[in-house]
């Protein structure tokens, strides 16, 4: 399932489930994302997050997507 296919319920649950961890990392590493960009990061990471087996993997995926998002900023 691609991000475009995420229906309203799936999007809501994806964000609701992962935002606490993403916000924790946001604060811990000083990423400085606001609510909107943190949601965008999670939606971009969604396909990879669906495959995770451990918290360690989830951290690495979110960290990677933060780097990608930072690199895309002008």
């Amino acid at each position: 399932m691609t991000n475009q296919e995420l229906d309203h319920t799936m999007r809501q649950r994806l964000l609701e489930c992962w935002l606490p961890l993403a916000q924790e990392l946001n604060e811990r590493y000083g990423w400085g994302h606001d609510a909107r960009t943190l949601e965008a990061l999670l939606l971009a990471a969604a396909p990879a997050l669906r495959q995770v087996h451990s918290a360690v993997e989830a951290h690495a995926i979110l960290w990677y997507h933060d780097l990608v998002q930072q690199a895309r900023q002008p």
């Binding site: 489930c17 606490p20 606001d34």
Partner: protein, 345 residues
């Protein structure tokens, strides 16, 4: 100018290939003479070592040391050769950005880390670092990153791997799942939950959860049917997990969604860095230093757990169901601490 004959060229090429092969084998780990010879023979067949293979092998190892500066030692007690340094054969070089990333990973996965899943990562990093030329290795040692990933504890419990595999299979095949589960309220026996499973996720404290829609629970409890529930994986009873033949509907059943509204007092909001823990978070900061927050949630239980971190600096005003949960919590805390105060008095 003379040119080597075809036979000489082929012989030189074979020698070079054989020596590179020895290095590749030693990169995997220490190896005995017999193992090294066997690897060469397996790869090169008739063009490998002659009958006096041991002497030829020693000649190759000496050449690798003399011509390429490889440091290959012989461990007498184990009777194996071990590669300590690749010398001029350290062919991996990386751009500055990759060296920075390598330094970050090196700092994040130090030797002797407690988590078993990190052990293989550390071994991989050691191998990659050994492939770098010596000057790049020295550069790497100097730039060891101060930034590092910090991993959570893996949680107090672990889920049986067979059960986890079944949960993942049900998610991938979009099939219903049934299991026995110890919820917070189950004190004497777990209850049977039949669910539509949608994904695994992890919380900051390191626990893993299953995101699922509740279809049936026996005996029934307070959980509303079709609610989206976060099942803690280590509370699923091992051996109870079954993937059912029934397929999930194309669209997920929509759980009831609530607009949650709360006010954060200046003590936690005055720095204007209020965190977004829920979808569609909107934050308004006020002149007195407080902040009003609205968001959309489907799990009021978890919402309460998250907002409790603010203690008495958070006042929830909507929805009424969440306010009721907080009132119950406040009553419970009041009862507990009123007793404590009496004890201390």
């Amino acid at each position: 100018m003379t040119h080597p004959s075809g036979g000489t060229k082929r012989s030189s090429w074979l020698t070079f290939r054989r020596r590179l092969l020895l290095v590749r084998v030693l990169l995997r780990g220490p190896a005995s003479s017999a193992e090294l010879i066997a690897a060469v023979q397996a790869e090169l067949g008739d063009e490998g070592y002659p009958p006096a293979a041991a002497a030829a092998l020693k000649h190759d190892l000496d050449a690798l040391k003399a011509e390429y500066g490889c440091q290959i030692g012989y461990q007498r007690e184990r009777r194996v050769y071990a590669l300590a340094d690749l010398g001029d054969l350290a062919l991996l070089d990386l751009p500055a950005e990759c060296m920075e990333a390598l330094a970050f990973l090196d700092a994040s996965f130090p030797a002797g880390a407690a988590l078993p899943e990190q052990a293989n990562l550390r071994a991989l990093l050691d191998r990659v670092l050994r492939l770098l030329p010596s000057d790049r290795q020295a550069q790497h040692q100097q730039r060891r990153s101060s930034m590092r990933l910090r991993f959570p504890n893996s949680g107090s419990g672990r889920l049986d791997s067979t059960a986890l595999a079944a949960v993942k299979r049900a998610i991938e095949e979009r099939r219903e799942l049934v299991f026995s589960y110890w919820s917070t309220f189950d004190t004497t026996q777990p209850r049977r939950h039949r669910v539509a499973p949608y994904g695994l996720f992890f919380r900051p404290e390191g626990h893993g959860y299953l995101d699922a829609t509740l279809l049936e629970v026996t005996p029934s409890g307070t959980e509303p049917l079709h609610a989206a529930i976060d099942y803690r994986l280590d509370r699923i009873v091992p051996g109870s997990v079954q993937v059912l033949p029934a397929m999930l509907p194309p669209q997920r059943l929509q759980p009831r969604a609530y607009t949650v509204r709360y006010r954060l007092l200046p003590v936690v909001a005055r720095r204007r860095d209020v965190a977004a823990y829920f979808p569609n978070t909107q934050i308004s900061y006020h002149a007195d230093g407080s902040a009003s927050v609205t968001a959309t949630v489907t799990n009021l239980w978890q919402t309460r757990q998250i907002l409790l971190r603010y203690g008495d600096a958070c006042v929830v005003s909507e929805p009424p169901e969440l306010v009721a949960l907080f009132r119950a919590t406040a009553r419970g805390l009041s009862a507990l601490y009123a007793d404590s105060q009496t004890d201390q008095g």
